[in-house]
Symmetry: C2
Subunit: 304 residues, 2 copies
Amino acid sequence: MPLYEKISIIGLGLIGSSLARAIKENNIAGALIGFDENPDHNKVVNDLALVDLIAADLVSAVKDADLVILATPVGAYSSIAEIIGDHLKAGATLSDVGSIKAAVFDMINPHISSDVHLIPAHPVAGTEQSGPKAGFSSLFHDRWAILTPPEGADQGTIDKLSKFWQAVGSNVEIMEPKHHDKVLAITSHVPHLIAYNIVGTARDLEEVTKSEVIKFSAGGFRDFTRIAASNPTMWRDVFLNNKEAVLEMLGRFSEDLTALQRAIRWEDGDALYDIFEKTRRIRQQIIDAGQEEDVADFGRHQDE
Amino acid sequence: MPLYEKISIIGLGLIGSSLARAIKENNIAGALIGFDENPDHNKVVNDLALVDLIAADLVSAVKDADLVILATPVGAYSSIAEIIGDHLKAGATLSDVGSIKAAVFDMINPHISSDVHLIPAHPVAGTEQSGPKAGFSSLFHDRWAILTPPEGADQGTIDKLSKFWQAVGSNVEIMEPKHHDKVLAITSHVPHLIAYNIVGTARDLEEVTKSEVIKFSAGGFRDFTRIAASNPTMWRDVFLNNKEAVLEMLGRFSEDLTALQRAIRWEDGDALYDIFEKTRRIRQQIIDAGQEEDVADFGRHQDE
């Protein structure tokens, strides 16, 4: 018996379409409905038969659904909730896959009735690619799905949604929404911002040409271009909706960078060595935790 | 006929041992001599038969060599040059593989006679791993080797060293030393510094535990840990010897980051989108230039 009778996914990009694939592959839904405001996405998903039905509009997409998952950029949540709010089934679970969590309640709660269970979620998974063609069913394997239920949320609903994420291969963590936003600010949001920034800085130099940056990128720069190639709309919305935590972590980052800069200026080799030595271990711990593969240079030379 | 009668490699870590493998594989040397001040490295290289002979000391290592390549951290160049300077063969080529180039002349020139050709070089290649076991012969394939000959250097010597790097699979670029240091400051040195810094910042947080940073690193952070796992001695020496260019690029980076920070604080979504959109294209250009593989997420999901 499928875990949910009827699941609706709103937003069929990389994450939404990967989730559709994983739901199908693991028989998690009696019926799987999809909808994207971009007709091209709907067409791709329909052609690939990733869902049972592409809905005609948002309202019909959520009709009778037991689980509705928002997989659009978070900036669209408020307007979507306004449209679907009155059409959600009583007792339905409303969730999402967004990278920020505390702001979700403010965006959605005003539009839904108290008999709908809002349990935000964030699968910590993705690639730099976008759109339904880039999705794949194993995207969530061995990754963490963080659920951020509000205080007093129904335990049965939380447990069922946890089972859902486990069924697509993820480990589940329950977290307080504001704490989630702090953790992700440092593990994801600030790294993306820094990557976008260094790529931007490199592009704008006068003395070093863009062609030189590209040719000699194997020295380290190219690693940063991967996450700087991520979906710009999604990331704009992340930064607008996790302002406080991002600014705090960014403040710490800049403070630390200034200290490193000073060590370079004053040629304090011991201080530099000390910092460079300590950071080395953390990668091994990430590998040991199953969150990274144990191959040099991201496996770039594996075929040679 | 081998390109050089006798080649000596001083320093048998990741780069030196990879070069030894590539020289052997492509029959570039009549005889290949190696030496490392670390006896463990010498033993590994000897056991793997990566060179014809491990020398007993620096002086005997360079005796009669037509090409001597320094593959140690650049901080050791000066003291090595002092020891080997008087023992280099007249007409020999002295080169290196260091990541900084302008400072090489000051470190080496005082110790060598005018009949030795100093042609510094920098293969823009590497992994986050260290030591002779981590090396492999294809490390330099399709990467750029940058030669930075001094003004008035012998053209035949430059051409022969270019052939050497081509023989191990690299493309060769001739560059003015100071320009090299600026290009690499932005494509390699500052990216490494930023990576070391964000990993350090994450480690030092109070509210977010190290275990959380490790668990949720797939959101982007783990990409940064790769280059922050690189050889700390090598990188300390890079920053101490490319101070001027690194500080300049770092100044630009910080200025740009402050602008991004301000856009977040004032919720200027258009400015954020604009920056995030522009940086996206540069990765495709790096892929098109053959300096990155065209797979999502560094191919992390390829086996699934």
